[in-house]
Amino acid sequence: MKILVCIKQVPDSAQIRVHPVTNTIMRQGVPTIINPYDLFSLEEALKIRDKFGGEVTVLTMGPPMASEALRKALAIGADRAILLTDRSFAGSDTLATTYALSQAIRKIEKVYGDQDIVFAGKQTIDGDTAQVGPGVAKRLNILQLTYVSKIESCDPEKREIILERRAEGGVQVLKTKLPCLITMLEGSNEVRRGTIDDSLRAARAQIVTWSAKDAEIADLTKCGLKGSPTIVKKVFAPTPRTDRAKLIEPGKTAGDTAEAMIGAIFARSASLEEDMTKLASGF
């Protein structure tokens, strides 16, 4: 099995700070991590490789320092890492990102052979769009399976995969043909700790670095800022809430307390009172 995992390097949101003076995000000195959702996809890829053999390639697009994220992926157990980095990718939105990634995947298939499964994270913790995985699938014209909670079985001979997917109102059990693109749900597996060997290999590994030209990306106008129709109008830090919690003194009976509570809620939202009264009158 040849498996490709798309990852992204993101700032560790647990350690990010807003500058107390300028209110901008202080990136300097904030450690970067692999987008946590990507790790569940990486782990699933490694599990399939361990079972059926083959190799796991990780791919990321980002600035040169994104190689650190790739090195971490190698230390967890991936076999190969490719960094797609080029000034012409700067300012990419999800549309431009999916274009560059899908072109790079085509190139990877040319160099390292066809990929049976492409994994991506469910979404990132910095952009939170959940668009890149599905976008890559569409551009590669392969099936997409998002929010996967479990891979039931995989048959490399029949080129079939059966998996469970979390959907609104329940779990879907799906059988589909390979190749496909999968995004894993968080908590669907336990991400492993690589061995000492993996760590040593990762520390020494040469990260394959491709420019737009190396990746044979055909149309540069679809990349970076030029290829991104998204416009960021404004960035702002959320203002702290000024609302205060209100303490309702307990009434004589539970009913009195409930009434006081409902009264307080309706006092703030007249439309809610209207809607609920209307609803109640239907019974």
């Binding site: 107390p20 003076v21 000195g29 450690p31 700790r193 061995t195 000492i196 993996d198 760590s199 520390a203």
Partner: protein
């Protein structure tokens, strides 16, 4: 099973570990460095002040690249009572030199940089990996380490133990005793963020100039300890530390002392309006010369805080750590080039280099100081600051009392508190320990 063998494994990526790794790797040795934190520097805490000279001896041009905060032009010593401080203040434009001597630094950033330099020289660094055990052969020679990752022992000719003050590995391997409560101080520290211009104005600074305030007195409630205030570029580090054994005997808490220190009328205006973004705590080896454990053995050396190399009087820890790391690296390199085995006998070279340097000479000079300050804590940290403050107030307040009476009253207060023999004894003891 890892087949390959390293010339040296360095445990830990603090000042000592980075200095050792850099020294060895830059001389062509095959070095593996293991760090338990998420990245080198992530777990490292210090006030912190960097002494340029000791780093210069390792990386001469460090000023061009290293993340430095401010160079220090002013030092204040405060003897504090609850409402006052008697200060000694030294500021000199000579400190605004081309290559300044002391800087404030933020360790997480600095150590990360230092480690990258060691990596650039060829050190292989693996983070998020805890060494669980020193592995020895049948004769007791250390031949490698085991970690909390799968994959077994990693072998090396020599292991440099730079694991820090807790010394868990060393204790577990029986190379040293576990740190005693009266040999370590617990320090807590907060980072207070303020705009650069505000810090400049409050401390009378320009450009990258910085100030250090070190304070002792009633703020430590009779315990052996001190407070500190360091200026960084856009933040002020404020901290407080006391001997762990002292805390154990009271109901005081480290954060309680720090809160009181921050509210002190001399301190509060300096911090006003700041935003606290980080809180850290750390142990500091304070035992001095007499508590230094065995520093070398068959296949191992120990450096930095793990070796209790800290000059509590001058508050020099990281430079002793760096220097010991450098000497360990130097000694190992010399043995390696002479193709000599890493035996206890040969590694004594490391101790010899330390003995001949300022590290051991300074620690020897103050060998009696920790014990003195500890046993006499109530006098030095409570009685004298109060007497000094009263004498100063007495001297400065003009109220019609004849000056001769004022002087007599101040002297009487000293004698009443400690009596003549006590005063004489304290002075002699202090002078002796200092010498």
């Amino acid at each position: 099973m890892i087949e390959e063998k390293f010339d040296a494994i360095v445990i830990g990526a603090g000042m000592a570990g980075n200095a050792a790794a850099y020294t060895m790797a830059s001389r062509g040795l095959k070095v593996l460095q293991l760090e338990r934190g998420e990245y080198p520097g992530s777990k490292n805490v210090q006030g912190g002040i960097l002494y340029a000279d000791m780093l210069e001896k390792i990386i001469p041009n460090f000023r061009e690249e290293a993340p430095l905060e401010r160079h220090l032009v002013e030092q204040r010593f405060w003897m504090m009572t609850d409402r006052s401080h008697t200060g000694l203040q030294y500021r000199s434009d000579d400190f605004n030199e081309e290559s300044p001597n002391r800087y404030t630094i933020i360790r997480s950033q600095f150590d990360r940089w230092f480690n990258k330099e060691a990596q650039a020289k060829g050190t292989i660094v693996i983070a998020e990996t805890t060494v669980t055990q020193l592995v020895s052969d049948a004769y007791g020679k250390v031949i490698g380490v085991a970690t909390d990752r799968r994959g077994g022992t990693i072998f090396a000719d020599v292991v440099v133990i730079a694991e820090g003050v807790n010394g868990l590995l060393g204790s577990r391997a029986g190379l040293r005793e576990t740190p005693k409560a009266d040999h370590v101080a617990l320090a807590v520290k907060e980072m207070h963020f303020l705009p650069r211009e505000t810090i400049d104005a409050r401390f009378n600074l320009h450009g990258d100039e910085g100030v250090v305030i070190e304070a002792a007195g009633t703020i430590s409630k009779g315990m052996t300890g001190m407070g500190f205030i360091y200026t960084n570029k856009e933040s002020i580090s404020v901290g407080m530390g006391c001997l762990v054994s002292d805390f154990a005997g009271t109901t005081e808490t480290p954060y309680g002392l720090l809160e009181a220190f921050k509210k002190h009328p001399s301190v509060a205006p300096l911090l006003e309006g700041s935003e606290v973004k980080e809180y850290a705590a750390h142990l500091i080896p304070e035992g001095g010369y007499k508590t230094i454990p065995e520093l070398f053995g068959d296949g191992w050396v120990v450096v930095g805080d793990a070796a209790q190399l800290n000059n509590a009087i001058h508050r020099e820890g990281s430079n002793l750590a760096m220097t010991s790391g450098r000497f360990a690296g130097e000694a190992i390199f010399q043995l390696k080039t002479r193709r000599e085995p890493m035996t206890k006998q040969n590694l004594a070279l490391y101790k010899k280099l330390l003995d001949e340097s300022f590290v051991m000479k300074d620690l020897k000079k103050y060998k009696d100081m920790p014990a003195l300050l500890h046993t006499q804590a109530k006098n030095y940290f409570l009685a004298y600051p109060k007497l000094m403050s009263n004498a100063m107030e007495n001297f400065l307040r003009v109220d019609g009392t004849p000056k001769i009476d004022k002087e007599k009253a101040s002297i009487r207060a000293f004698v009443k508190e400690r009596n003549w023999t006590g005063l004489f004894g304290d002075a002699v003891r202090l002078a002796r320990a200092w010498r």
